[in-house]
Homo-oligomer: 191 residues x 2
């Protein structure tokens, strides 16, 4: 079995990737190494900087890392790459206050996986989920912005869905799928 | 004359430091090298990471860099180290919207200067200006959050003050003063 490190502190993400990649004979191992997340406009830049940092420290296997965020059109992409920080400061109520006078409540959830070998440039896998921000919180499942986000094609928030339903829509489900296809192709190229 | 690099893209800050340190026989030279600003809660962490980055690239003189932000108590310190990003996305109106239902409008402007030699740990110089956020914009001078911030001891916003009046209150005036005292003492130790 091939080992692939997942650089993250989030056990939930590790579990999700483990299940996803098991059919490929890939053994996901969590490495909570931590890396500096830079202030920039795009998730790709955050991920790329993280990859370079990990490679500079030295690592003995291929690895993946992920960054995600929600970009609200009416707020010029805010909170974007700072979604986690914003959630922990002004919170969902803050977002709702900011949008109180805004008609344009469309938003996109983005997830970026980076895959890299110990040396060399990373590959990026981007998943997006278009949707809109509600004027109030609904549902109690999931985490973060889930209670105020309704994906296109549904009339319920992420927080009103169970995991398997959410995964059909979700940005992370899509980026993970792209990474899966890449790793699957890579396997056949090796054989 | 001793040369001290100021790592910044901001000519206004360079001018301010040049005037301030001339009496010490220190020649400030702007170096717009750029450095990654990390996502973290404190300005000191941002500055420290910048210093390490610059030192790793290699530099032939002592240098300074500065980071600043406004921390609003009623918003759990938001926008803090992300003040510039937040200003360029949700803007002053966004801040006012967030505070519309908040009674606690106290805030603090913080500035942190880091001074470092080509190798070794940096010294930090912190300046703070306590004040409050207005419910509307007032004044047209200065930049950034100046039109909505009234420093304690005044009844006017930073944007209603000329530079010399603002400097009596300002966070950057205070951190610069601490750095001045440090460099002055250092000079006497060398002689």
């Amino acid at each position: 079995m091939n080992t692939l490190y997942f650089i993250t502190g989030n056990k939930g993400k590790v579990h999700e990737a483990t299940e996803k990649f098991r059919p490929l004979g890939i053994n996901i191992r969590q490495k909570n190494l931590g890396y500096p997340e830079i202030q920039t406009d795009t998730l790709e830049d955050v991920a790329a900087y993280g990859v370079t940092h990990i490679q500079k420290q030295g690592i003995d296997h291929g690895f993946i890392l992920e960054d995600a965020g929600i970009f609200i059109d009416g707020l010029q992409g805010f909170p974007g790459v700072y979604s986690s920080y914003v959630y922990h400061t002004i919170g969902l109520q803050g977002i709702l206050d900011l949008l109180a006078n805004t008609l344009k409540c469309t938003a996109v959830f983005r997830s970026v996986f980076a895959y890299a070998e110990p040396k060399g440039d990373p590959h990026f896998f981007i998943g997006e989920c278009l949707g809109k921000i509600l004027k109030e919180e609904k549902g109690s499942q999931g985490f973060g912005y889930d209670p105020i986000f309704i994906p296109d094609g549904s009339d319920r928030t992420f927080a009103q869905m169970d995991t398997s339903e959410k995964n059909q829509f979700s940005h992370r489900g899509k980026s993970l799928e792209k990474l899966y296809n890449f790793l699957n192709e890579k396997k056949f190229m090796k054989n």
